[in-house]
Symmetry: C2
Subunit: 380 residues, 2 copies
Amino acid sequence: MRITDLPTPSLVLDRAKLVRNIQRMAEAARRHGVALRPHLKTSKSIDVARLALEGQAGGIAVSTLKEAEYFVRHGIADVHYAVSIVPDKLERVAAIQNRGARVTVITDSVEVARAIDAKGQELDHTFHVLIEIDCGEGRSGVYADSPEMLKIAELIDRSPKAALAGVMSHAGHSYGCRSLAEIEEVAEAERAAAVTAAERIRMLEIACPTVSVGSTPTALHARGLEGVTEMRPGVYMFGDMFQAQIGSCAVSDLAVSVITEVISHRAPLGRLLIDAGALALSKDRSTQDTPNDIGFGLVAGLDGRPLAPQLHVGKVYQEHGQIVLTEDTPADSLPVGARLRVYPNHICMTGAMYGEYYVVDSEHGDGEEIVAVWPRTNGW
Amino acid sequence: MRITDLPTPSLVLDRAKLVRNIQRMAEAARRHGVALRPHLKTSKSIDVARLALEGQAGGIAVSTLKEAEYFVRHGIADVHYAVSIVPDKLERVAAIQNRGARVTVITDSVEVARAIDAKGQELDHTFHVLIEIDCGEGRSGVYADSPEMLKIAELIDRSPKAALAGVMSHAGHSYGCRSLAEIEEVAEAERAAAVTAAERIRMLEIACPTVSVGSTPTALHARGLEGVTEMRPGVYMFGDMFQAQIGSCAVSDLAVSVITEVISHRAPLGRLLIDAGALALSKDRSTQDTPNDIGFGLVAGLDGRPLAPQLHVGKVYQEHGQIVLTEDTPADSLPVGARLRVYPNHICMTGAMYGEYYVVDSEHGDGEEIVAVWPRTNGW
């Protein structure tokens, strides 16, 4: 099967680019002397996980318990569930751990730390806990210098059924950076917050083995990661148009695109429609706030090369995407039935609409033959 | 099982509200003397379809061929695939028709009309075709008064393997209206475009049995639908915050919401996090351009009543939703673990993230007991 035979819209993954992106991040982790714990919220695929884990310690991060269940079922034994745990999800965590894996949960709450202790005793089951540190994003986490942070550490440390795994921070605000210097600064704040928290915990003579940081931009551009033990970036494997805008990758690095077809022409209005709309691309508009807004996706030919001058999907309806044509791309060069690739703004959002990747390889093949089909695990 | 036992996030459907919304649209169709062909792109569920088809002729509209396959497999025999057909999808259409159903396709293209004829002869298979008329939205369609429109009608009529089913128009631009008077005007443009096209075709002594219009706002608020034979609204069954803003329904009519849980507190920052983020709610921001912007979703208690003063999800991350608290809703009224309902902007987008509906009934039950689980068919 070739990409010209795929139903449209479909999600296509270029294995050669994926492997190069993985190697680049592995090299960044080596350079910093920290472990790489790939975050699999973007790919949600065991096949991608296996490539991302080559040469690594074997631990992963996930964003849903469904992902945790899926990856453990496929043999992964060390999982960070990197979204604030809630007491009523602990039984599900215990069930996964009973299959022989460790699922480390995170919290930023004294009340939840107490509930973890209570639930651990009730179930006679040990939970592994990371304290989430807010390094400036203002989303979740406690401040490294707060009394609450130490209180949580003490509660977990004292519990017979909870084990303090360490601390973690996430510099999601690196996505707001528009220069490498800004990213370096945020990366340093992320590092400093996690390391400060760990040092304060250790001053209480409580062990704090893991000091975890992570976001693709900060992992790639940190000046140094002294005191950090691991990083957990995710989107680096695929890249997307937003990451390309903030300097995490080039457009030619993007490993995942949507294959679509021209379905209608409005030549007099200077535009055409494709069968990739709001569901196929997502309504993410993250490049809107960058110097280079590409609407809902950058349009490329089947060979993956963007069509000049930056042809893009300007508007989406549920199943229709609208492309405004220019002089460089006249309507008759893209007849009804012509196939295109679209690179979306935010691949975590777009990927979630698809049940599988159709895998091509632009290095060990012509980039248009389907060499594998890899399933994804969506939902909760 | 009760909604307090559901995994979060989950999609909850109130059957009593669904039935009332369906009855309201059925009454509108009766009032106008037209058939109701429910568009199932929103619900993607045979269980919802069965309720929507009670007392109707039995035809439906869909937005993907996967939906067409699913509904035909579940016994529906008359399907409009309401997105521009492309020649290489015709074999899939033929395969569905070979199961005993009729799948009517739509086109706005002379070239595609020729390709339908050719493919019909190649496969020795008859395709049923509606001509799509642009009634002012500027998305897809030909103009009712254009020579291309008649050319398509002639090509289909002359083909031994294509049958002209009629014409259809879709007033998607009714979503841009901000008053009932504006919606009435757009509804009249939608009606007039379809009827004009049908009359022009009939002047060529070509039969044009179907004159189809449809969008939830125009179906509800049209002054009259003279000359129209059917309407195909979709979102009316569920409603959403955007439809509530443009007057299609009240917030108390919304049949579908997302059940979520408070997962983290940032009391000093006056906000909290829930486990319904960009994937659970979608990044649709359609209320942004209405007088009443509710961010990514309106927050309600488990009883479905919005929390004063219009508490809403102001920001989303992949799996986190952020709610800014107010004096009326202090942090301690919503502790970690508290369950909430969120009404999203655009239910077609939000629904697509879930594999099933957990069904409750606020009329024949307490609205919190799960009385059924209905699957959805997502993807392509």
